[in-house]
């Protein structure tokens, strides 16, 4: 603004400031999409990027299961009304501190650790970590021994206990193999965002952020620097890719 424009009308100045203030208040709830471009399809993923999530438990609404529904729809996971054996890639957990009686709620999924115990124990190497940090199950070589399910500190893995009637062709899943949250790798590889993160912002909660935590300019990195992000079971030293605020 030059000196000549100083005599801008009071009304427009007030209007603009009010709008800015409104933007500031609403901004944290805005869907923060940080990925710039999709990598070309014929290029391998590299470790220049590490995908992560930041979840703010203060914004996570206790009764809301938008992320869970979105994940189930996206990945074609159907319920068989058998909660003990049904696959759950993401779940909502409500916790209460025993001393302070403070309650929080958060979504729990595969934490995409940097040193995943599930990868260490898999006898065939089907459970593996991609260079960009996403931990996956290669169901072509999974023999269904379920050792990774024993070893996962977050109970993130599910076993396909019955024949899977596939409804989606971009997430092949089958009976007898182990599966878990893939961080919507089929979307991420094309520049997208996991379905749960998207659903959370569509539901106007904005508790979940997804992005590249190796990129200091990404939204998630900035949020991590500003507000911090704790790992669940941090004492295990796994350096998870999914971090939480407020635990």
């Amino acid at each position: 603004m030059s000196c000549k424009d100083v005599n801008v009308s009071r009304r427009s100045f007030v209007g603009q400031t009010a709008t800015a203030a409104a933007a500031l208040t609403v901004a944290p709830g805005v869907f923060l999409h940080t990925v710039a471009e999709a990598k070309p399809a014929d290029q391998a993923v590299t470790s220049d990027v590490r995908w992560g999530m930041l979840i703010d438990t203060a914004k996570c609404a206790s009764g809301c299961t938008a992320c869970v529904s979105a994940c189930n729809t996206e990945n074609g996971i159907a319920s068989h009304n058998r909660p003990r054996t049904d696959q759950q890639w993401i779940r909502k957990v409500t916790l209460r501190d025993k001393q302070t009686r403070h309650e929080i709620s958060l979504p729990m999924m595969c934490q995409h650790c940097e040193s995943p115990p599930c990868v260490d124990v898999c006898p065939t190497g089907a459970s593996f970590k991609r260079d960009d940090g996403i931990v996956l199950v290669d169901r072509h070589i999974c023999i269904g021994c379920r050792y990774c399910m024993m070893a996962c500190p977050y109970k993130a893995r599910s076993f396909a206990h019955e024949t899977v009637d596939n409804t989606v062709d971009y997430v092949p899943r089958g009976k007898g193999t182990v599966e878990s949250c893939t961080m919507c790798v089929h979307r991420v590889d094309e520049g997208g965002t996991p379905a749960c993160v998207e659903a959370c912002s569509e539901a106007e909660h904005g508790a979940m952020i997804f992005g590249d935590i190796k990129n200091p300019n990404s939204e998630i990195s900035k949020q991590l620097v500003e507000h911090g992000g704790k790992q669940i079971r941090a004492d295990l030293g796994l350096n998870t890719g999914v971090r939480y605020r407020g635990i």
């Binding site: 603009q16 400031t17 709008t19 800015a20 203030a21 409104a22 933007a23 500031l24 901004a27 944290p28 805005v30 869907f31 923060l32 999409h33 940080t34 990925v35 710039a36 471009e37 999709a38 990598k39 399809a41 014929d42 290029q43 391998a44 993923v45 979105a70 729809t73 996206e74 074609g76 991609r130 260079d131 960009d132 996956l136 290669d138 169901r139 072509h140 899977v164 596939n166 409804t167 989606v168 062709d169 971009y170 092949p172 899943r173 089958g174 009976k175 007898g176 790798v185 089929h186 979307r187 590889d189 094309e190 520049g191 997208g192 965002t193 379905a195 998207e198 912002s201 569509e202 939204e219």
Partner: protein
């Protein structure tokens, strides 16, 4: 007598061998170059006439292409379409096909049943093109602001005052 028997024996073997040769020549020398008892492999109904590789190459090597591609896709995130199983199905199996893998009318099992080579791909993968309207929200490009995900999108928080005064109050 022994000599005669031996010669007779050799002659019979020769005749039998020649007959077999003639039979196979007759059987295998049909116009398409394949045996007349070979299965009827359905052709794609979407108008394409060429596969990603020549037909003979595909017959011999499709399993190797698929095997190589699956490791590249899973472990390295390389999602080229040329050898993708999903794309094979999208082309070779009609969209509203009622034939499932295992039926003789399904493209893959028409030959695999005949050759008696069992495959377990379709215990996990879909054996026909997905009905995109029915389920799954992955129509890539869906984000709450309606913008294409593949294009660069960034949403700035109006965190600095310079940004605040310059914004017209609209977010991307």
């Amino acid at each position: 007598m022994q000599q005669f028997q031996k010669r007779m024996h050799n002659t019979l073997i020769t005749i039998a061998g020649l007959a077999l040769l003639a039979f196979s020549a007759f059987v295998f020398a049909s116009p398409e170059g394949k045996p007349s008892f070979a299965p009827e492999v359905p052709h794609p109904t979407n108008g394409t006439t060429e596969c990603v590789e020549p037909e003979d190459d595909m017959k011999k090597n499709h399993m190797n292409y698929l095997l190589h591609q699956r490791d590249e896709t899973m472990h390295e995130g390389i999602r080229t379409k040329q050898y993708s199983l999903k794309e094979c199905i999208n082309c070779h199996v009609p969209k509203d096909s009622t034939a499932r893998f295992g039926d003789n009318q399904h493209f893959c099992s028409s030959c695999h049943n005949f050759a008696a080579v069992s495959i377990d791909c379709f215990q996990c993968h879909m054996d026909r093109p997905m009905n995109k309207e029915a389920s799954g929200s992955k129509a890539l490009g869906k984000n709450p602001h309606g913008a294409q995900m593949s294009k660069p999108v960034s949403t700035k928080i109006a965190s600095t005052s310079a940004d605040a005064t310059s914004t017209q109050g609209s977010k991307q």
